[in-house]
Amino acid sequence: MKTRFAAEAAANPLIPHTAELIVGFIAFTLLFLVLRRAVVPMFEKAFAARTEAIQGGIEKAERAQAEAAEALQSYTAQLADARGEATKIREEARVQGAAIIEDLRSRAQEEAARITAQAHASIEAERQAAITSLRLEVGSLATDLASKIVGEALEDQARQSRVVDRFLEDLATEKGRN
């Protein structure tokens, strides 16, 4: 019991112990050096790598999204272009078709008019030819007839012609009278 109280008196708990001060300093310094050299840099490395990995992932995703949006936009634009082109082509085709029809129609009309005109001309020519040949023939027939009836040869061309004319005039007047 006595030794205990003696020890108690000696040991004021607030008085530091030299050996413990030395050990405390050495031990803590040792731990500090180990943690600073080997542990903190490694943890920081892991943190940095993780941050980078996450950030990299996010950036990659963002890039992919932007690319997708861009592609969509370009496809939409292309589609709109194609639609516009198709409409234009249709419109052109319609206009062209109308023009072709119009052209054909006018050409046909022209052709028809030409053919009609040709026919008219040839009919007129034939009529003239018929009139001429009929006149000659009627003349010679009438002359023959008249000479036969009159019994007088009408050799003279001029006279003959005059006679025919008179005959025809008579015929015409007679016809008119009737």
Partner: protein, 258 residues
């Protein structure tokens, strides 16, 4: 003390119970607290070196556990309090926290069961580190004259007040801060260990007593166990407070006005 001595010869635990004889040999350097301090250095170093060695992006369980503690000190104590320049001080804060926490928890680890921080020498040494660092940082940042002037003559105070304030401020920065830092840790560990000794040694004594006392003994042991849990909380809290205050002092020295 004698008043507490029961008729059965019960000796209540006292400060003498903290003066343990050398564990082996006859040297001052082989006492239990000293061996425990070395053990804590080995355990903490091995654990964190093993946890951080691979520095994986996707951590293993071990690395994750290490990062949890490291991240807590780095972010909640370093970054939050010190600000932009915090990274320089993380190794110090981290070693303080892990060293104190491990040694505190030794107080309730079976077989070890002694908090080295209940020997005041260790808190003194530990408080010296942030003490030197925060003064050094302040002097480096503001220059010796400006720094001391800032401490002695706090700006924005009427001149007459300096009569009172200057001694208080000087005492605060050079005496109160390191002393409170170390004594708070020491006293908590000392008192906590004493408390556990009271309940467990008391229970031990009661159970050897007469039948009535035997019946009371379980209550004493139960309280001893409850107090062990309570101690665990105090041990963690004290490690946190010590590191937190160190960070606050450093932050104060870094900012121009304290």
């Amino acid at each position: 003390m004698r008043a507490f001595a029961f008729e059965g010869g019960f000796v209540p635990p006292s400060t003498a119970d903290f003066n343990l004889p050398p564990a082996f040999g006859n040297s001052e350097f082989t006492t239990k607290p000293i061996l425990l301090v070395f053990l804590s250095v080995i355990l903490v170093s091995v654990f964190f070196v093993a946890a951080s060695r691979k520095a994986l992006v996707v951590p293993t369980k071990l690395q994750f556990a290490g990062e949890l503690i490291y991240g807590f000190v780095r972010n909640d104590l370093g970054k939050e309090i010190i600000g932009a320049e915090f990274m320089r001080f993380v190794p110090l804060l981290f070693s303080l926290f892990t060293f104190i926490l491990t040694n505190n928890i030794f107080g309730i680890v079976p077989l070890l069961q002694f908090p080295a921080m209940s020997h005041v020498s260790f808190p003194y040494v530990l408080a010296a580190f942030p003490f030197i660092v925060f003064h050094w940082v302040g002097i480096k940042k503001q220059g010796l004259g400006h720094y001391l002037k800032g401490i002695a003559f706090m700006p924005g105070v009427p001149k007459a007040v300096y009569v009172l304030l200057t001694p208080i401020e000087i005492a605060t920065f050079f005496l109160v801060r390191p002393l409170t830092l170390s004594l708070r840790l020491f006293a908590n560990m000392f008192a906590g260990h004493l408390l556990l000794l009271v309940f467990i040694m008391g229970g031990d004594h009661l159970i050897k007593g007469v039948i009535g006392l035997k019946l009371v003994a379980p209550f004493s042991f139960t309280l001893g166990i409850v107090m062990t849990f309570f101690e665990f909380m105090v041990q963690c809290l004290q490690a946190y407070i010590f590191t937190l205050l160190s960070a606050l002092y450093i932050a104060g020295a870094l900012s121009d006005e304290h």
